[in-house]
Amino acid sequence: MSDTLQVDNEEVSLAETDALVESDAEFFAKTGPLPLHWNDERRFPRFYYRSRMKAVIYPSKDQPERQPTACEVLLRDLSRGGISLLHTQQLYPNQRLDVTLADGVTRAVKVVWCRRMTERCYAVGAEFFKEGSKGTAADGAGGGVTSAS
């Protein structure tokens, strides 16, 4: 497995970005359902789904002139409603990403929260959504990644 990520057409070393809070081996070894948190109010169960993932990140509202940027991110887990990922830059709530999961299908997600983990490593929670819809993709029949739940 390559130890670099593609960010803004630049190869960034995983070690250099300190992107993985755990070691590579620990990070990618996790599988199965996530343990429930004491205040978990999620609608759908979440599953570890550790992999590299291609993403197109759309600019936030403060940079409207920027073009969408293709890059790689690290997928942490997913549910029928959304995904969690690691990225080397801060993303803002409601910012759009198009992510391509292992099934080869590209889905649109919208950032819900972003938390800095370490230097140049941000954990991001995002929900699936359908363009032109105010609700999330999971609200509609068959939306999101149904096979995962």
């Binding site: 004491w38 205040n39 509202k61 403060d62 709530p93 409601n94 819900v112 972003c114 938390r115 800095r116």
Partner: protein, 319 residues
Amino acid sequence: MSTAVAHHGYLPIATASISRASILEFDLYLRRAGSTHTELYRSASYPLKSEDVERLKEDGVDRLYIKCEYADAYKHYMCTQVLSDPEAPATARVEALREATRAAFQEALGASDHDQMVAVAMDFGGQMAQVVANEAMPFRELFTTLEHDYYTFTHVCNVSVYSVMLAGRLGIVDAKEISQIAAGGLLHDIGKRHIPLSILNKAGKLTDEEWEIIREHPVSGFRELVEREDLSWSQLMMVYQHHEKMDGTGYPTGIYGAEIHPWARLCGVADVFDALTCQRPYRKPMPRAEVCEHLEKHAGAWFDAEMVTCWTSHVRSAR
């Protein structure tokens, strides 16, 4: 969110705000202590004299009520009586502006969308910019004028005024920017609309679960407003980042230093200053000198050091 919210179709107004009154365009209502019943105090056609207002104050009646549908008439009255009065000092104008905005703000709080709230904030911002443009605002008099009860409107209004004052001290003089900062200050806690009153007004210590809910308000406020075209990114950062700390220990993102937008840093200083100088259910207001010491103690780690120096020197010079 406030205990002074619209009550069965009535909006609370400050008794002091009608001290210049003669004939009003709206009826005034009263609620006796311990009573939930709202009774007619004075009909619109009956002149209100200054001694009536004084008697109400002596009786401890600091709030009267008007019917919700007269919120605009009340605002119009405040604007024509005080805001447009060239003789009125800055403190009186800010007070009038606050009272004119209070009713509209309380009404907007109850609305399901945020259009009304943003409109109120932008209107407030524009008027604040005019007040500031005409004359400098003396801190000591303003501090005395502002309320310190930490009801939601009081808090966001104070933060807005302090943010404008600090911005001025930092050299921001552009009327458009001042207007945006004032509006951003009024909106900075809009995400608290989604927090249950039982948590916001809790007298005791918050549980971990309740803190988790409180800490969501910058994100929920930002998400509510981010798609709007009429708010600038800087204003949105006041909503999203005002609880971030310079050393990265804040929330919601945990960014640090220069990553935090200057207007959010400014709003953060104003926010903490007001929070500590206000009466809370579980503690008395902290004296200004102690609040300045608190800000200085955490300058650089939590707060922008330059902004703290600027603000505390301004507060101390007003003694």
